[in-house]
Symmetry: C2
Subunit: 111 residues, 2 copies
Amino acid sequence: MNLENTQVQMRKGILEYCILHIISRGEVYASDMLDELTTAKIIVVEGTLYPLLTRLKNAELLEYKWVESKSGPPRKYYTLTDKGSKFLRNLSETWEDLVHSTQTITTKSNA
Amino acid sequence: MNLENTQVQMRKGILEYCILHIISRGEVYASDMLDELTTAKIIVVEGTLYPLLTRLKNAELLEYKWVESKSGPPRKYYTLTDKGSKFLRNLSETWEDLVHSTQTITTKSNA
DNA sequence: CAATAGTACTTGGCCATACATAGTACTTTC
DNA sequence: GAAAGTACTATGTATGGCCAAGTACTATTG
């Protein structure tokens, strides 16, 4: 058990939430997402993102279409399905609750 | 992949953070923690909490002393070690960053 | 037109945590 | 001394993030 481990654990699920959010705002492909996550200081590597997208697609929360690119191979542009939108709304609630609960714990002073 | 799974994943690491925080405020034993977590709407079962405490102790972030109880078996009262305090401070930073990053993503409107 | 570099996506294996479930040990109460 | 309650322990499972290596397509370049 070390700090790095716990930090990794803390990210679990949150990444999924962020990805869904980014896609909910419009069609994007993987590199777009990586850029936005990096800007928000959430560093993600390909080996994390691609499998996640595949899982989300298999769960029918996402769908994609191939779009040809002028500079390289074609790209998968993702959009949310209806199921994905619903899922995201639920997840938002969960996240808000979690943040609130954590705040309750961490801002409580010595009794 | 379903909602429940992701919710479970979201808790990972955060629980550890909350536990450390609760202990940082003074000597407590497991049931105290369960009560406080439940009050904050973080539902935890024994099978999750006890192994976590053992892990934290083995990592030398916690130490405990046995205290006899008037109503049942003796209890382990936990306190943070110096190492634990440092760990908690690091974790606080990680958590704050994560919340902030997530907010950056989720409050961004359609570009 | 091979060879190289760059972009986009894929795959397999590893690890740590949360959880379910069952079990041990001690104390009080009737 | 049997039952109920409290506190802690042990085992096995599943999941997601990560590392690392690999595939496939396009554009450039000598």
